[in-house]
Assembly symmetry: C2
Homo-oligomer: 458 residues x 2
């Protein structure tokens, strides 16, 4: 039996980065093996862009150089059982590999709406991440004319936008009142929906699919409001659930949502086994509550924590919970969010103050390519600490949101963000006198100053 | 005599933002007047782009709507004296205005190399910020063929790059070994210089101008190394000095560098007078030392502090010093820096650890428009706290640097940046598994881990 120092199960963001982090943190002497099921691994966030922009599965592959460059053994196989007593993993190919430490990064599986009659007709595709399945969607799209997307989250919206470029009739059906309601307040969702409609996409919100109709293959969706949508292809974008069967089967603690329970060091209930990424339990940064927010960026953070802590605890209380930070370029405009929306913050019971600001992302605004930025910041009114941010604008919004991601992770206050020193340059950023983060923080504070001034004499 | 609650002298970033901040912080009842010398105010950072990209002074104006929208009285005049006893300001137009609080934002003046023989020949232009003077440069360029730029800082490099678009012969003369050596380590400066050379610009570093030759107008520069450069026009980019005469003349304390001395609340030695921006003393965030770093973004921060604190101290110990954060797009590529360079950190005596990383700014890298990002992070080895960052790449670098600007201002450590949760999206950012800030922090830590592992058994 082969025995390695570290065994990793899973080859996407979480598994890959766990393995390379262990190599960086613990040096060249360790033997590290990573098991994954497929010859090639798709870039998870790139999947929607296979269909409109890339048009080629081979252009959406995570390079194996990241593994081979770190001297990590790669085994293409499927892990089928973990023996915690013997500290071994058995594969479908009948290999048995011993480990000192094991990291489970088995990811997630798409939710299938088994409660909808007709969900198992032909030409209905969940979004699984393996190349073979994604190739079927690519080929399926060649025949399709009317594509319905069930679910208006990021996957649904991104697939819809990409498929609309192929001159198909595309309809999104979302049960909530807005697309992307988990990430954005209504002013942003409305803008996104309006841009998608401008691209010819039909959006139906506040209604559910009652039945999927068809003989062998899907022909139409029947909605709860009684209307019917023709569809010869359906994409399911209803979210994902942790893929935790392997962990549960070997007796590791699993939450009621099906996620592997982990501590702040990413250790499972077995101290020699870690779990990271979509298969692992997620806690909310703001409340400590269990949340079902599965993101590649969260997986990357967790992988680094697990990798650093695999043999000794080096990152102390490192997993402070997910702040939920997103960005997306939709129909040519970038939208991003970090932390709580105003709706979420109020629902949790925070007393808040909100600052908004609009400006141009070049200065002077007469420079070529200038686009409007719209920012909204949400703070705790009592402590001044930032709770959430939303921004829309040009491409630079993709990094501007990460200033706020860090601000949230460092408990930054509105006064600190008001006077935060930022680099600016005419050709790449807004003006220093109207830098959006400063200005929105200032606007949030101004609401409080009014109150302060009542007691003061100037 | 007219008397106002707040009087502001100076209409650029510092003055404008001080006035609007007071309005936001203290409400609608105050009477606020701003005095400035010119009908229109140029966007300071936009000045170089007048010459190649905008070709029109009118396109580089700070809109007065910012003032009028905040109900601030505007007086076009020149303040000539401050009477601290009477609390009045007298103008060239013989107005006398009383104030409760006064904010001085008189900016800076370009350094003139009076030690160089011939510095006063015709067609030699310092970079002053007023429209009339900048118009002379615009008209002067129409006649010029060989333009020499003395000084390879941001102003010099940006003017050179813009003027080179007009099919002129452009030469930069920089006394130090590299252009932009105050902001970047050599690997970045070399890259910038190479791109400028590709645009046809001649760069001469490590040499000084000994004499400027010509009859009435400039004809050539004679360098210390004996060589000679033909020049029918010269741009002086040698830096600026605080414009503090008005403050000094009324007896306010002024530093040996000529800057108005201020405390952490931006108060001068007179508690009813504040100073902000280029005319005010700057301290280094890392050492508390007096530094000559004059930036519009620093002015903006100081203006917000002065404005908030004008009538009551509201932002406590708010001016923590300048972190020096810059960005610039040069010949199509963006370069940015925050905090100390490696050279500066070593010279100050910090024990440091450095992490570098290169990756593409889209994921997968096959997406259209992907550009390489090169990042370098400098940390204190003992405390792990970030001291500096440099990044080059596409436009998004302009905001990515501000994540590090905030990290510096919040004393963030390498382990925190290694596991920092960042939003990423295929079309606007690098991959979550290779997010440059995370990865460079990880590489810095890896150098320390090797040392740690020597004592440990795995």
């Amino acid at each position: 039996m082969k025995k390695v120092d570290l065994l990793v199960i899973g080859g996407s963001a979480g598994g890959l980065l766990s393995a390379t982090m262990v190599r960086k943190a613990y040096g060249e002497d360790l033997e590290i093996t990573l098991i994954r099921e497929t010859e090639r691994v798709m870039v998870p966030c790139g999947i929607p862009y296979i269909y409109g922009t890339l048009r080629d599965l081979g252009k959406n592959v995570i390079p194996d150089a990241l593994l081979t460059g770190a001297n990590i053994n790669l085994l293409i196989d499927r892990a089928v059982a973990i023996d915690r007593e013997q500290k071994t993993v058995t594969t479908k190919g009948n290999e048995v590999i011993g480990y000192k430490k094991l990291i489970i990064a088995t990811g997630s599986l798409p939710l299938i709406p088994t409660f909808i009659p007709g969900h198992d007709l032909d030409n209905i595709y969940p979004v699984m991440k393996n190349e073979e399945h994604l190739g079927k969607i690519l080929r399926g799209l060649e025949q399709a004319r009317d594509v319905a997307v069930i679910g208006g989250g990021f996957i649904g919206v991104e697939f819809a936008e990409q498929i609309s470029r192929l001159e198909k009739n595309v309809t999104i059906v979302e049960a909530a009142d807005s697309c992307l309601w988990q990430a954005f307040d209504k002013s942003y969702s409305d803008d996104i929906e309006s841009r998608l409609r401008d691209k010819g996409i039909t959006i139906m919100t506040g209604t559910r699919v009652k039945r999927i109709k068809g003989e062998q293959a899907v022909e139409a969706l029947e909605l709860e409001d009684g209307s019917s949508i023709p569809a010869d292809m359906v994409i399911l974008g209803l979210g994902v659930k942790p893929n935790s069967a392997l962990a549960r089967d070997c007796g590791l603690l699993v939450s009621d949502r099906g996620a592997v329970v982990v501590d702040q060091y990413m250790r499972t209930s077995d101290p020699d086994i870690f779990a990271v990424g979509d298969c692992a339990e997620k806690r909310c940064f703001f409340t400590g509550k269990n949340v079902p927010l599965l993101l590649a960026s969260t997986a990357a953070t967790e992988a680094k924590i697990a990798g650093s802590n695999a043999f000794h605890l080096r990152l102390i209380r490192a997993n402070k919970g997910t702040i939920s930070t997103f960005s997306a370029k939709i129909a040519g405009k970038t939208y991003a969010a970090a932390g709580l929306t105003e709706t979420q913050a109020r629902r949790e019971g925070f007393c808040i103050m909100v600052g908004e600001f609009k400006t141009m992302d070049r200065h002077p605004a007469t420079l070529p390519g200038a686009q409007e930025i719209y920012i909204k910041l949400i703070f705790s009114r009592c402590s001044g600490i930032i709770l959430g941010a939303q921004i829309s604008g040009g491409d630079s919004v993709g990094e501007m949101i990460n200033i706020l991601s860090l601000a949230i992770q460092k408990d930054t206050t509105a006064t600190e963000l008001n006077t935060f020193q930022a680099a600016t340059h005419p050709l790449v950023s807004p003006s220093p006198i109207a830098y959006p983060i400063n200005a929105a923080a200032m606007n949030a504070l101004a609401t409080n100053c009014k109150h302060l001034n009542e007691d003061l004499v100037i």
